[in-house]
Amino acid sequence: MHGRVKVKTTAQQEEEKRKEREKKLKIYVAARDACFSKRKEGVCDDEALQLTQQLLSSNPDFATLWNYRREILMHLETVKDPDEMQKIYEAELSFLEACLKVNPKSYGSWHHRGWVSARLPRPDWARELSLCDRCLSLDDRNFHCWDYRRMVVKVSGVPVDQELEFSDRLIGSNFSNYSSWHYRSTLLPVLHPQTRQEPPHASSPRGPQSHRVCEEQLLKEYELVQNAFFTDPNDQSAWFYYRWLLGRAEREETISCVYVSREDERVAVAFSRPINARCVGLLLVLDGQPLRVEWRSVHPRFRHSPVLICDLPPGTINDVTNEHNLTVHWTGNHTHRDCALYTGRVESWCRDTATDQELFRSELSVEKTSVLQSELQSVKQLQELEPLNKWCLLTIILLMRALDPLGYEKETLAHFQTLKEVDSMRSEYYSDLCCKFMIENTILKMEYAEVRVFSITDRNLTSLCHLDQLLLVTHINLSSNRLQRLPPQFAMLQCLEVLEADNNFLENLEGVYHLPRLQEVSLKNNKISTLTDLQPLASCPELKRLDLRGNPVTQAASVESDLAELLPSVTDLLL
């Protein structure tokens, strides 16, 4: 057809493009080689600056060239006066802007910019800040730019409230932005710290509250973040920020329990967090005299453990007619705990009366109950609208636990059931979390009943946790669950006498290790298949009775004699 515009064919275009590329490559390689040889010769001249500039502007991720460039600039600093350097560095900044346009996420460019800004004789931080504004408005998730911004803010002392407003703006334009929410969490405690005059809760631990925000501001934040998750309940960033808001300070580091056994001549100390036995700086004072003892964790697998034990020199406390006073000093933390072992007693302990708040609410707020209650109400409101939203369900569970873990137990379990159904990919995660909560509840019940018996049966338990809280337990019943192992942490049950764990899937008993008082073990209907699996039991000197009925290991040929050899103390063996 006449008159039609003729357009180059694809092959023709391809060929032209290929030639173009070849030409570019040739120039690039030549320039690169020139740079390398110059650097080798230690040349720091203007030509080298130009060559590296030429290369970096097309490929800003060439780290070696940036390094060379810095070498040249540092050399120039020694020969030029500050005014000249100011000019050179300013030119460097504009060059970097061009590089950032090529690749706004180039590590090399951002790093070099930070380097140049720091060396600039008269830095223009306002300009750097506006560069960050611009980059973040184009891509509010560019973490290179976020990093650079934090550096600029820190160095130039941008007021915190100004930065908070900035995060307001970014969240306003798109609240699916972890960086902005996170930025808020670092700014708010600085701008609106929790006032010391009004302690947030009676049972709140003493000590610094540096990560907390004052209540008035917290309420505003709750409102803001609620707007976000009501608008889009499937967006995780707002939920995570909400969790942070509801969270409270780290638990204070304390000695939570000191236990002393006259018979074993052993002291066990429980801490609020796992600590390293070697470098913790513990001092044991017995009747006013410091004692040299060796602290160790309960199981060789751990260097860090929340329970440490030590054996006293033989004969120090074994006379029941003597009364002894022990003090454990935690020198690093300036805390200590006393424990008195009275005449005629075989053991003694000293610890805080465990309340639910102290034990397990550490993950959630210590805010006033009324605040939490109203938060629970609004999240429940959302759940009515979105009954299958996992974030919403999970948050309800956490709030309920913070408010009244035992009172809400039934509802919590029902929500867990729903969670496992709507988010089946994470059903095991929810199972473990549910276990944790059930164990916490059982511990609470035990504490309230003031007994040393821990029983949690037929609850589909998949894992054990908080075992440090069971230091004083003498009887434990874990029957009819879905446990596969008794983990090394199990060795923290230093007072355990009777272990029942029938009808589980146990195949690993690693944690039944050096339990000095353990006498009876019942492991009916588990998956123990070899003698090696039973090896840890050999470390328990008092073991008398062992029930292994219904385990594969009982099918082995010479099991009885092998066991007698392995566990000579056992007198009552059921196979």
């Binding site: 008159g3 003729k6 334009s173």
Partner: protein, 617 residues
Amino acid sequence: MAAEDLPSEFDVVILGTGLAESVVAAACSRVGQRVLHLDRRSYYAANWASFTFNALLTWIQEQQEGPQPEQGKDWSSLLNDGEELIHLSNPDLDSITNIQVLSYASEEDEEVPDTAKEETSANSQLEAESTGSREEESAEAEEESAEAEATNTKGEEPEVDQSHPGASSGPSEPTRKKISYAQLLKEGRRFNIDLVSKLLFSRGSLVDLLIRSNVSRYTEFKNVTRILTYRHGNLQQVPCSRADVFASRQLSVVEKRKLMRFLTSCIEETEMDQAYSSQPYSKYLQDQQLGENLQHFLLHSIAMVTEDTPTEAGLASTRHFLRSLGRYGNSPFLFPVYGLGEIPQCFCRMSAVFGGIYCLRHSVSCLIVDKDANRCKAVIDSRGQRISCSHFVVEDGYLGSRSSVTTPTRLLSRAILITDSSVLPSDSEQQVSMVTIPPGEVCQSAVKMVELCSSTMTCMPGTYLVHLTCQSVGSAFEDLSQLVTKMFQTPESQEPGGRPSVLWSLYFNMADGSVPGVEGQGLPSNVHVCSGPEGSLDHEHSIKQAELIFQRILPDEEFCPPAPNPEDIIYDGESPTPSAEEDSVKEAGQQEESGGDLKEAGQQEESGGDLNPQLDQ
């Protein structure tokens, strides 16, 4: 080009440079058709045009004076056997009526704020009422004189002696220097005042066409920044995007959830409940447990339909709105920088790049029709040259009385205001606002209002350009002045308040182009009629019409395929036309070539690069 004769043979002759005509021109040139594109007027884009302030005043004057008398020449000497003539007429005869200008800006450069002047207001209102029914009578012969009477302002100069005591209560910011009429004239070139008021849906057919055809490289766009609605006498921001909903202070968190859920389900196109197939959309919304607030937003501002629109149509409009959201920003609309008149010109430019020939102030007097075949063989231009063509595309206005014989003309009421501040002040002075005023709130019909700020390059800094559009009930002034008085500060305003003052206003009625087409009304089969602008906010009507016409002309050709990059075009000795034409049209199309804004907006979009057609597929 004026003195030279045009070539005497073309494939397609197009008369009128409105949107549909220009798109047809671009599409035909693009596939190699020889196109002659003419317009009788001295400017591009017909009733789609944008004018500087001064050019608009000239346009008003021309409209009021009526068209130049035409010499009824006898062209029969140019006829061959078996041919007859169809005479064309002047396009401006019917399309614009009831022009009324009210100027409130002080004449001199003064700082005293309370001397707002008004021109012939009492007088003009009276006349406006009496002229309401005039256009029917004037349909036939005496168009010219009727037109002159219907327009009742004498000129643009404000009459100083009629100062209004009502305005003495003063506007909100007495310190602010008032912009005088002289300043408006002096800065008149900064205005680009559109005769029609429309927006581009980000996923509408016009944006698609601009991208697909690469015409987008000739223009830039700005996002409409907010959607407002007028409710219970107050302006409210309509939360339509996720960010808006999040930030809204009017909605409770539960309302936010309900709104978001409704919007999400709309986009997902879940099957509509059959129970609502015969029910109005408003009933459907009522039953979605959405509060009154939300129902209002959804019906009037998002779907932009009426109470009795069927559910299916309502849902479709809602979906269209939502799909356009977020493509280039937090609102679904784009507005072309320098005004809507740019768009037809961009297509003309594309046509010229591919060899189309352009003449303004040049018309077609008659069509030569082969009686037997009932086809248009050629046209006679206004200089008396016979130009043969295979197809003739024409703006309906040129057909004059022919187009309004069967259907009574429907009209749009338009008001254009230059104001001194935004209807809803906010942190940023550079807001582009789309405002919906539901029917019955102030006016009988639903009013669409677009407020443009100076960064759209349509008004001078310190002013806002406000466009109001509705279906006519009476004259434009009758339909819209009450709303203007309520929302803005004019001497007629009852109570003072922090409302923006109107510096200058223009009311007029324009023929509604959505009137069913005129094909088959005794016109030859190869004559294709394009209608003028209609009242809807989008451009769907004209783009569909253009595509339809193109398919009738060239059923086997692709409609506006991507234009190749200039460097990929081979220029050989035989066809040097493209480059030469490109230069000439560059002058016509005033602005520099740049697709910068649109490209940048495209980068922000998550899916990325939609404006780049190669990536789009």
